[in-house]
């Protein structure tokens, strides 16, 4: 159990969990999690199936804990719905009414939150969905649905914003804009909790990170401390590029690359410093005239990192 004063704890906490556990039959989804979230953006990082969504659902009161305590602004949300005047969730699943337009959806959210429905227009503008705002959501792409959900969450200007994989399906421009929006909310003093299985995404959004694996808190702290904790174990990076063989050979000469596998145009690069290597790859590729089409950490690799962190605790 993590103590209520360590790196998993936050000053001015708005959300607190103490020894929180949730199991579904034999499966333990969240195990003995003690942590707190306060103003600013906190990233909840972990591989798929780590328990992030279950923890967020517990925080929002959508499911009940099997054990432990949870408070949001001092109350148990399942017993005090007034808490929801200050809390909004962007769930991972498509929790939208397909027959509504995004503007209707946001206005409906505003009405239910006791806010002026006219604020829907501002929320739609915040997520840059004006052009499609009057079309039924059923015809939206995944990214547009995500933004409609974010608009519905932002419309009531919640003090606590819970985002479950909010960047799924968004294109790079939308992603950059949403990240900027979440950061600004965090800077303005909102408690923003955002889950992701992609370290690079969390790094861009959050100053503070809680890493989860197998339902447990694996690490907590700022990005630098998480990176440091991960520094002595290899990551695996997937790179798709032309001229892959030469690029692989060049990367293998680097001190932070411990191995390279080549499969056609795909390279799997083992490294101990994901950040440095990620920054260096475009330079090396340019020198070799190798066109890169994809650079991403492999989930499996990230999962092994988290498992390593859990073992170390």
């Amino acid at each position: 159990m993590t103590s209520a004063s360590g790196p998993a704890w936050a000053a001015d906490a708005t959300v607190e969990t103490r020894s929180l556990s949730r199991w579904f039959g034999q499966k333990v989804a969240v195990s003995d999690v003690t942590c707190a979230f306060g103003p600013g953006v906190t990233g909840l990082l972990g591989p798929n199936g780590a328990g992030k969504t279950t923890l967020l659902r517990l925080i929002c009161g959508l499911i009940s804990p099997s054990d432990g305590e949870l408070t949001v602004l001092g109350s148990d949300p399942r017993k005090n719905p007034k808490v929801y005047a200050s809390l909004a969730l962007v769930p991972e699943e498509d929790a939208v009414y397909g027959f509504q337009t995004a503007r209707e959806f946001a206005a409906y959210a505003a009405t239910l939150a006791g806010t002026d429905p006219a604020k829907a227009d501002e929320a739609i503008a915040m997520v840059r969905l004006e052009d499609a705002a009057d079309r039924p959501i059923s015809g939206y792409s995944k990214g547009m649905r995500q933004r409609a959900k974010v608009a519905a969450a932002l419309v009531s200007d919640p003090r606590i914003l819970v985002l479950d994989e909010p960047l799924n399906g968004t294109d790079p421009i939308q992603r950059a804009h949403l990240i900027d929006t979440f950061r600004r909310l965090g800077d303005a003093g909102h408690t923003v909790i955002v889950s992701s299985h992609v370290l690079a995404e969390v790094e861009r959004m959050a100053d503070r990170v809680l890493a989860m694996v197998d339902g447990k808190l694996a690490a907590a702290g700022n990005i630098a401390s998480i990176r440091e904790a991960m520094s002595d174990i290899p990551y695996r990076l997937r790179v798709e590029a032309g001229n892959a063989r030469m690029l692989g050979a060049a990367l293998l000469e680097r001190h932070d690359v411990s191995g390279v596998e080549i499969d056609g145009d795909t390279l799997r690069v083992d490294t101990t410093d994901l950040g440095d290597l990620g920054r260096a790859i475009p330079t090396v590729a340019r020198r070799l005239d190798a066109r890169i089409t994809l650079v991403e950490p492999e989930d499996e690799s990230l999962e092994s990192v988290f498992r390593y962190l859990v073992r170390r605790r």
Partner: protein, 251 residues
């Protein structure tokens, strides 16, 4: 109140939308078709007896329960299973208001669909035989029956994903079968709530179909009390589920 109205309006759109409305619309066509084929050359009292013998049974034993089951079980249940329930429950709204709005939408949708079928059948009866007495009482009793069934099926739909199957067994095994076995069982039968209101308002109805009521007394007052109790119980039970049960089922 604004929140309640908004929830009811959106829920009504949700409940009536999609392919379901076509299925229940077809079910609602049964009463006018039955009326059309059974009235024939009957007039006055004879036509009314034919209407009571054939059409009333179709309306109260088939149309209202089936329509309420299909529309009502999805009101909360579909939202729980497709994840949109989280959108509603994460609002500073009393859980009773959420269930009340869902119940209101389901009962209204049932009344719109089943009531249309009942209205058409009463119009066919009046047009063919000149008997117009059942028209208004029929609509009132269909409204009462819609509330009764919606109260049960909205909660059933929340509890189980197999609500339609269980509901059909209830409707066609219990309501249409077992509840006729003894007079005392009639008091725990939903279709008799609407039917008791109808028989309390239409002359000769007790004579024609009164025996179906078993131990239930004809009259609107008793029916209104029963649906008030049923609706209140549904709201209380549903709100309790919203507080205590897991509200998302998808991973």
């Amino acid at each position: 109140m604004k929140q309640f109205i908004a929830m009811t309006r959106v829920s009504l759109r949700q409940v009536i939308g999609g392919r379901r409305i076509i299925a229940v619309g077809l079910v609602a066509l049964l009463p006018p078709i039955v009326t059309l084929t059974t009235i024939g050359s009957y007039v006055d009292r004879g036509a009314l007896r034919q209407f009571h013998d054939a059409t009333i049974g179709v309306i109260f034993l088939i149309v209202i329960p089936v329509v309420a089951l299909i529309l009502g079980s999805g009101a909360l249940g579909d939202e729980r299973r497709d994840g949109t329930l989280s959108f509603l429950v994460l609002r500073p709204i009393r859980r009773e208001a959420i269930v009340g709005a869902k119940l209101g939408a389901a009962a209204t949708a049932t009344f719109i669909v089943a009531g249309s079928g009942a209205l058409l059948s009463a119009l066919v009866l009046g047009g063919m035989s000149g008997v117009w007495d059942p028209l208004i009482p029929l609509l009132i009793s269909v409204a009462i029956g819609s509330i009764a069934y919606a109260s049960v099926f909205v909660i059933l739909g929340f509890i189980t994903a197999r609500a339609v199957l269980i509901g059909l067994i209830y409707v066609f095994v219990w309501e249409s079968g077992i509840s006729f076995a003894a007079d005392s069982l009639a008091t725990v039968s939903l279709f008799r709530i609407g039917l008791s209101a109808y028989t309390g308002m239409v002359e000769f109805a007790v004579t024609d179909i009164g025996e179906v009521l078993g131990s239930v007394q004809p009259g609107v007052g008793g029916a209104l009390v029963k649906i008030a109790v049923l609706a209140a119980a549904a709201v209380a039970i549903g709100a309790s589920f919203l507080r205590k049960r897991d509200l998302v089922t998808k991973d």
